[in-house]
Symmetry: C2
Subunit: 251 residues, 2 copies
Amino acid sequence: MITVNIIGSGNVAQHLISVFQQTETIVLQQVFARNSESIAHLIATDKITSLYSNLKPADITIISVTDGAIAEVSEQLPFENQFVIHTSGSTGLEALNNKNRRGVFYPLQTFSKTKKIDFKKVPLCLESENESDYEILEKLGKIVSDKVFKINSEQRQSLHIAAVFSCNFVNHLYLLGKEICDQNQVPFEILMPLIQETADKIKTLSPLEAQTGPAKRNDQKTIEKHLSFLEDENKKTIYELLTQSIQKYNG
Amino acid sequence: MITVNIIGSGNVAQHLISVFQQTETIVLQQVFARNSESIAHLIATDKITSLYSNLKPADITIISVTDGAIAEVSEQLPFENQFVIHTSGSTGLEALNNKNRRGVFYPLQTFSKTKKIDFKKVPLCLESENESDYEILEKLGKIVSDKVFKINSEQRQSLHIAAVFSCNFVNHLYLLGKEICDQNQVPFEILMPLIQETADKIKTLSPLEAQTGPAKRNDQKTIEKHLSFLEDENKKTIYELLTQSIQKYNG
């Protein structure tokens, strides 16, 4: 049995509230939310508080708020020498106030309020100052997910940057592709199987092996045709830069 | 019943040979291959020829060779006024010699020799000079795929460019993400669910709605942290350019 407090009511906090309540071995003790309405559908109202002074120590207190608020919230906690963790990918462990024992529980997935997620498949990146705290953190992680990794703050920072490249930037390239289709009255859905296959392929091939296209083939004629077709300077610059980068790795 | 010739023995040609032979309404009449060994496992050897003069007219003759060879191959065909098509995404219909009636059958998917593809889900972009030829082309397309689109040469060119952005460049961003992970001893597999989810999300949300991350949030502090973490100039430049581009669309 692990008792847990959650501070916060955003996307990640809401997913954690739901997931923890579906288990038998995690007891969600209290949730701190300034605005209780946003989570009233998820948990009994007597467990919700909007006063720090009402919070009681638990085995693990999880701060799931915006990155910029982590330091202040951790300072406000009315107890000391408890195990307190945050859920941020881009914030070091040391952002937490050191009056408590510190750790991190970073679920690496995009959470949207509308789309359901199978939490068992969400990779959890865990870190703690003390080895003894890591044990309970890992226990909590393994109850809710099949993919638990011990990741220190610097590694987590690198992961977050890798995710910006492989997800945020990727989504933006989908947008540019869609815009090119829209401008030429071509349904973007034609590209969908190719987009899915591109994401699938790297489950079995390394991205270097999976690379195809004019840049990889060094097909200068096609590259020039594409550049002269593109009228938008922004797309041209991105096309040139990513083409050069592909050629660096395949040269 | 549609009779078909295939000229070529590459990836696309091999997939077409397999798929056509699995149907009852398409008769694969002849395959032209310089090197018959590469396709001997796919089709009876008496149907393979390496001499253009052996080729007989069919309802549709499909030229599936490298883009640069399409013009010459179409000139070599020993018949006239037949329906002859190519399978290239980045080549106009007019690359085909005009002694025959011309068309295009462009399957928009990445084909690798090792990975199986469900051809029914491959979008086919079809084009022909004459409306009457389009009918038989569409009939052929619908036998092998559930997704058939009428796409003219300029639209196909735009699609090919959109595919470079949404697939070739996307795969390269996976590579950069993996390199960042490798350099920090973090398993790239941690990012896999996020990568899959990013590709899945745009089935139900537009890429503009699906965008997340520091650039979208205009989180300058995180952006600067990421840039100072990245040592490689190439990655820095790509990070800056794509961040700016996201901000243009979300400004």
